[in-house]
């Protein structure tokens, strides 16, 4: 009934999202930019599905003309993460959407990710982590 419940709900959703996407991106980064020796195939497959679902749903939420996400692959994008991404990309949103669309194509075709595409994913992780951290501060330092 107090506004802490919705705040803590939003924190729990955002921190989960941020943590899982960051871990998945780290796996892809190790595979495509590092030696990738220690990456287990199962972890790689799961990371690709999660990141693919996230990118696709993000495009959908940002108004791109993409097929609606299939329920089993849809990764919910927390509202604050979306708002922060849009704010961060203000003025260059079109380029961001173009890059995201290209990344979506690479992921859905099973292609190798480039350093630029990993950087794009890292920038989404950065925004998600900032959102989780800011919501946590709101909860703890009211």
């Amino acid at each position: 009934m107090s506004d802490i419940s919705s705040l803590s709900h939003n924190y729990a959703s955002t921190t989960d999202f941020s943590h899982h996407v960051n871990q998945a991106v780290l796996i892809l980064k190790k595979l495509y930019l590092g030696s990738g020796k220690e990456i287990v195939e199962k972890d790689f497959a799961e990371a690709t599905i999660l990141v693919g679902g996230m990118v696709h749903h993000l495009l959908q939420r940002m108004g791109a003309d993409v097929e609606p996400s299939k329920a089993q692959y849809a990764v919910a994008i927390p509202e604050d993460v979306l708002t922060r991404l849009e704010e961060k990309q203000r003025g260059k949103l079109k380029y961001f959407m173009d890059d995201l669309t290209k990344l979506n194509e690479t992921l859905s075709s099973g292609g190798e990710l480039s350093a630029e595409e990993i950087e794009l994913l890292d920038s989404i992780c950065e925004v998600a982590d900032a959102s989780a951290s800011a919501t946590f501060r709101k909860l703890w330092r009211r």
């Binding site: 009934m1 107090s2 802490i4 419940s5 919705s6 803590s8 941020s18 190790k30 509202e79 989780a132």
Partner: protein
């Protein structure tokens, strides 16, 4: 050379060890639910410790290419440990008889409601009215609430928050689609009618508020009304007056009280309590008149009745699918729900002598729960 990240990870391991140790030393003198909760939180802290240790032993930990990702991992664990120390550990170290009473009542409510998870524990330590940490299964209530009944319907609202968190894909995501479709149609209609860009932006803002937090509040109200019936409507009037604020003005985190009262009324009608809904609406109108408030411009765009109605029907259907028990007046097999309903009826019929009625009923229930 030891890096900042390595130092921070070692510090986090020490904190995780402290939390595990402190949870281990808490004496087992409370109910089985409390012990199970302590063990669960200990498991969470132990698991976090293992994962942090895994990070420390990762051969890539000092590779600058991955540094920001590892740092984000650390931040996640640091926040988790802070949450464990500040909430479950604090509550369990200072657990009181009042907390146990509230936890017993919560367990009975969960059992009666067909709540599909283990019952959360309650702590009567809140200075922020009722609230919950849905990922930690803990509900905070004001310190005198375990001795009273009229505020108990708000516990059902907090259970709603936990259900929404746990059942996100079948409750929240489809409900967001309902909200998005509604506002999309509104935008199309607005453009056709040549609405100003300022008005279209306002519509966008309302949709954002719904997605940020309003939906969670409405949905928790709808679930609570489904579970405890008219008592939630009466309790809502009491809460709206006790907590203050303007009845028709929502804030970022909470929709307007009046719109919430409307949604609660819709659910009451939906589950067959239209007569109660009318009586509650009459009282609500009395409150609006006393407060001398009226809806601001564009109120109907912020809280469209059509959207509230659609959400009411959706959440009723989903509550049924989840096997949650809808409130019924013939509720002899649900002693806590019956007590709450009886108490609200008694309070409205005879507020002057209510307190002794409440005390007797609550004592009786608490004794029976202790069995």
């Amino acid at each position: 050379m030891v890096t900042l990240l390595t130092e921070l990870l070692h510090d986090a391991i020490q904190r995780a060890d402290d939390i595990v140790h402190s949870l281990e030393t808490i004496k087992s003198c409370w109910s089985a639910e409390v012990d199970a909760y302590r063990d669960k939180m200990k498991g969470l802290a132990t698991h976090a410790r293992e994962l942090i240790n895994g990070l420390l032993n990762d051969p890539d930990i000092d590779n600058p290419m991955y540094a920001t990702n590892y740092f984000r991992d650390y931040c996640y664990f640091a926040r988790l440990l802070r949450g464990l120390e500040d909430l479950p550990l604090l509550v369990l170290k200072r657990f009181t008889e009042s907390d146990q009473v509230a936890t017993d009542v919560m367990a009975a409510i969960c059992d009666e409601s067909g709540y599909p998870y283990s019952s959360p524990i309650c702590s009567a330590i809140s200075s922020q009215y009722f609230w919950t940490m849905p990922d930690m299964d803990i509900v905070f209530i004001p310190c005198l609430e375990p001795d009273h009944v009229l505020g108990l319907p708000d516990i059902y609202h907090e259970l709603g928050h936990i259900l929404l968190f746990r059942k996100k894909s079948c409750l929240v995501d489809p409900a967001f689609s309902i909200v998005d479709n509604h506002y999309e149609q509104l935008r199309v209609e607005g453009k056709r009618l040549n609405w100003s860009s300022a008005l279209l932006e306002q519509v966008e803002q309302y949709q954002h508020n719904w997605r940020s937090s309003w939906l969670l509040e409405f949905a928790s109200d709808l679930i609570a009304t489904y579970l405890i019936g008219p008592s939630f409507g009466w309790c809502n009037i009491r809460t709206a007056t006790n907590l203050g604020g303007e009845l028709f003005i929502g804030i970022d985190s909470h929709p307007a009280d009046d719109a919430r009262a409307t949604a609660i009324g819709m659910m009451l009608t939906e589950i067959g309590f239209d007569e109660s809904q009318q009586r509650i609406h009459q009282r609500w109108s009395e409150l609006v008149k006393l407060a001398m408030e009226s809806p601001p411009p564009r109120y109907d765009l912020a809280y469209p009745n059509k959207l509230l109605d659609e959400l009411t029907k959706f959440f009723r259907k989903e509550c049924e699918s989840l096997g949650l028990a809808q409130f019924e007046t013939d509720n002899h097999d649900k002693p806590v729900a019956k007590m709450i309903d009886d108490c609200w009826t008694q309070f409205r019929n005879d507020p002057e002598t209510y307190s002794s009625f409440e005390r007797d009923r609550l004592d009786e229930i608490v004794r029976s729960l202790r069995g």
